[in-house]
């Protein structure tokens, strides 16, 4: 309907009321910066759900996550039909220097853990070093950057749960490696150390682990396999509850409320306001140009072309404001260190694509009523009015 040759005409019209146009574009821009930040925030709270492995299950104590499970369950779980591998993990819950410096510390079996989570990418030399040193640990890139850690650093952590056999609460670890995420959004805020170090040195809890991570052969049969695992330990002193990792992360995220719904509610209010602002600008611009639009129609512009010109102008305003807003939002998200609060804080491709769709929708919806008015313009009456 409207080709590129009409662009100069649309573009020049934007400059007619520069201040109004600039303010409208700025309003749209701010809305889309907010959109990018809120989308990243939502990813921070719920993004782990989508990144969770489809072929991984989590087995916890049936009573609650904080109840330990016997270490002997590993072999039993691995014997269940459909299970490829199982590996234990235990929550440490220590404090590094200050209580405010929270980050997850988890005791794991290094080799099994890295095999279970191929998304944690560690250099081969660092991996070998971790496997060779019992007090060794690895940290995610965000965490290491947050505290300025380098490989080889000694990291003392005060235990809040696991007192040492010697009565001390201080656990010393040597940072053997820093892992990166295989994809954007992979959690690099965690600290992993060796399960055997914890087992040997803690004053109590011998033979117990926190939970198990299990890889299944067929993700399509994950529910069936989970039931089989729980059935294995039914009526035992430590009954289990097995779910997919995705459901596990989702349940964890839900503890903080429905972040997605909250974000959508805020964005809904913001975009409704922006729609009114942009729509008002377009209505004014058409009202001021009735005579010119009548001339265009006189010269042979069809109703559709006039409609397209006005919609094009509205799209250009929302495109400039929204595009700038998304870019600035993305840059802000990129440069904000949210590692102390969120495991992931980034603008996902799907959210950026949704933002682009929102820009187009805003342009069309804000422009449609003024465009229809322009389209239905009575040329003779408009020319008579001058």
């Amino acid at each position: 309907m409207i080709g590129a040759k009409y662009f100069p005409l649309i573009w020049k019209n934007l400059g007619r009321r520069k201040v109004r146009t600039v303010f409208t574009i700025l309003s749209v821009m701010v809305a889309f910066i907010l959109f990018a930040l809120l989308a990243a925030l939502r990813t921070g709270f719920t993004g782990g759900v989508e990144l969770a492995g489809a072929d991984r299950l989590i087995t916890i104590h049936k009573v609650s996550l904080i109840q330990p499970l016997p270490a002997s369950y590993e072999a039993d779980i691995e014997s269940v039909d459909g299970v490829v591998d199982a590996t234990p993990a235990t929550w440490f819950g220590g404090v590094y220097r200050d209580k405010r410096n929270f980050f997850p510390q988890i005791a794991v079996e290094p080799e099994e853990w890295l095999a279970m989570y191929p998304e944690y990418v560690l250099k081969p030399a660092e991996r070998e070093s971790w496997l060779a040193h019992r007090t060794g640990a690895i940290a995610g890139r965000s965490l290491a950057e947050r505290f300025g850690w380098k490989v080889g650093d000694r990291i003392p952590i005060q235990a809040t749960i696991w007192q040492r056999k010697d009565g001390s609460k201080t656990w010393e670890f040597t940072l053997e490696g820093i892992y990166d995420g295989a994809e954007e959004g992979t959690d690099t805020t965690q600290f992993f150390f060796r399960q055997d170090y914890l087992q040997e040195a803690r004053a109590f809890g011998e033979g117990l682990v926190g939970w198990y991570v299990i890889r299944v052969a067929d993700p399509a049969r994950a529910a069936e396999t989970a039931d089989a695992i729980d059935a294995e330990f039914a009526n035992s002193p430590a009954e289990t509850k097995t779910t997919t990792e995705r459901a596990f992360v989702q349940a964890f995220a839900n503890q903080m409320g429905d972040i997605g719904a909250i974000v959508m509610a805020i964005l809904g209010a913001v975009f409704f306001t922006i729609l009114i602002v942009t729509g008002n600008t377009m209505a004014q611009t058409v009202r001021e140009r009735i005579g010119e639009l009548a001339v265009l129609k006189t010269l042979g512009f069809t109703d559709g072309r006039v409609l397209g010109l006005v919609i094009g102008e509205s799209l250009l305003i929302s495109g400039l404001g929204g595009g700038l807003g998304l870019l600035l939002g993305w840059a802000t998200v990129k440069n904000v260190d949210a590692g102390s609060i969120l495991s992931a804080f980034y603008l996902r491709g799907v959210d950026a694509a949704f933002g682009i769709g929102l820009i187009a929708a805003l342009g069309i919806v804000a422009g449609i009523l003024p465009a229809l008015r322009a389209m239905r313009l009575d040329v003779v009456a408009a020319l008579r009015r001058g």
């Binding site: 100069p8 020049k12 006189t298 010269l299 512009f301 040329v379 008579r384």
Partner: protein, 241 residues
């Protein structure tokens, strides 16, 4: 200047034919009959001045000929085609190919330069950008404003603006020009220059011109003058008599 006789650019072929045209408007509860059983024939190459008192229906007649309005009854034919039967979009497309409009107040787009204003009708064609530029340059050259191509309307005098308006009207080489009081906003000297330009377009380029005017001096530039009175047309001589 007087109406030219025996000009070889005028042909016997009828270009525009209005037959038994009536146009009524509704003003509240009242029905106003602006044109009544009007007939008009305009040969190709003619230059017709339409005169008449305010509200006599001159502009309404111009709008019917230009496909901007439809008659309440009767027929409007251009080159044998019934334009009163065309749909809105086909009529718009027809206007872009056949009619060049010249307005009293120029009606240029203030945000565009002279050359961009002249280019506007060409946006509706399939011409390439370079071809459009060539046509625009030629049209501005004809009206003597090649050196003002990059100027915005606010940087031009009234006469220059009207020349740009005429360049816009002729750039797509329309079948005929419709001019609504083209000198109504200009002083006498500038008005004369514009009328001489219209005469040149008529005589040298063979353009058929239909011009609405209040000014008998302007009408004298036309080949013939018709007066719209009480909804009908008659030759100026008859009116004078």
């Amino acid at each position: 200047m007087t109406a030219r006789e025996g000009d070889h650019t005028m042909s016997d072929e009828t270009l525009i034919h209005l037959s038994d045209v009536t146009k009524t408007y509704r003003r509240g509860r009242e029905v106003v009959e602006v044109l009544r059983n009007l007939d008009l024939e305009v040969p190709r190459g003619d230059f017709v001045a339409l005169m008449g008192p305010s509200g006599s229906g001159k502009t309404t007649l111009l709008n019917l000929i230009g496909g901007l309005d439809r008659p309440t009854s009767g027929t409007v034919e251009v080159e044998g085609q019934r334009i009163d039967r065309l749909s809105g979009s086909r009529l718009a497309s027809w206007r872009s190919r056949h009619v060049g409009f010249v307005f009293q107040f120029y009606n240029l787009l203030p945000v565009l330069t002279a050359e961009r204003n002249v280019e506007v009708p060409l946006l509706l064609t399939d011409l390439s950008r370079s071809a459009r530029k060539r046509h625009v340059a030629a049209a501005l050259d004809i009206v003597g404003l090649a050196d003002r191509a990059k100027h915005h309307p606010r940087e031009l005098s009234g006469g220059q603006e009207q020349r740009v308006g005429i360049a816009r009207a002729i750039v797509s080489d329309p079948t005929f020009l419709l001019c609504d009081e083209p000198t109504g906003d200009l002083d006498r000297t500038t008005g004369t220059e514009i009328l001489e330009l219209l005469v040149a377009l008529n005589r040298e380029h063979g353009k058929t011109v239909i011009m609405v005017t209040h000014d008998p001096r302007a009408a004298a530039f036309a080949r013939r003058t018709l007066v719209v009175e009480e909804g009908r047309l008659r030759p100026a001589e008859e009116a004078v008599a």
